[in-house]
Symmetry: C2
Subunit: 156 residues, 2 copies
């Protein structure tokens, strides 16, 4: 059985159902589901800022995922980081599991540029969020979603 | 061959020798070596703040490690996070690969408390660093080093 199917099986069989935390849902747009993680885009056009949320209930730290889930998370995080670095010609990726405000495990993947509004500081709490225009959002989603779906299909 | 030995083999066989970046060395104390990562303690007593540095030359992003190294990194990161969360009764762990100032891949593992000087903000760039007193530093190292060495020995 492929890892992706096993992971999906674990999610389906999980006795407690995963539900995206309202604190994550409110400021973001759902892009697609990896086998383990939901991929969100933060509604802040200062930087291409994505979040992976493992779809497992009641998890706050990466080490609380079981080992198979941790490996799948790493796989999805690395795939996403490499894709974003290349697609957006990033100077640096910032990858972070913080969760001081919203405890549900979520891992930021932020494309950074040497000329972005916060460089070289981390982005959190530094600069007011700037929502996308509706058409900008659609252009961005249409640009990345088919490529990511193709990469996911290739892996499984 | 155990994973730890394989990883050590990769490091030894690496044609370019790993050297800790001076930007990391200057503000931290080397605690011990995991099979893959060097463990540093930041000299800032505002929070127990540790850094893992994979001992592979010329790596800036987690996805640039080969898959075996990535898995070993995850293993060491999860082991360290769980140990720190319990040992220091953390309210939350903050785990982050930033690297905007020092490009050599290094991953922060910060013990956070709801009453620490920056909560709930991330710690970077928020609060001046506060070096440990020499005796505090020794007490801290003597407290954690034997326990971590025992955990590493148990794993290998």
């Amino acid at each position: 059985m492929a890892v992706a199917e096993k992971i999906r099986g674990n999610i389906v069989n999980n006795t407690k159902t995963f539900k995206l935390h309202s604190g994550l849902a409110i400021d973001s747009i759902e892009i697609l589901d990896f086998p383990l993680c939901k991929l969100l885009l933060c509604n802040d056009c200062n930087y291409p800022w994505f979040i992976l949320v493992p779809q497992i209930a009641d998890i706050e730290e990466i080490y609380q995922l079981d080992w198979q889930q941790q490996q799948q998370f790493l796989n999805e995080s690395s795939l996403l980081s490499e894709f974003l670095k290349q697609e957006f010609s990033a100077d640096k990726m910032n990858v972070a599991a913080l969760g001081n405000v919203v405890p549900q495990l979520h891992i930021h993947h932020v494309v950074r540029y040497k000329n972005d509004p916060c460089w070289p500081k981390p982005i959190w709490g530094q600069h007011p969020e700037k929502p996308y225009q509706e058409n900008e959002l659609q252009v961005l989603i249409n640009r990345i979603k088919p490529k990511l779906l193709a990469i996911i299909a290739e892996q499984n």
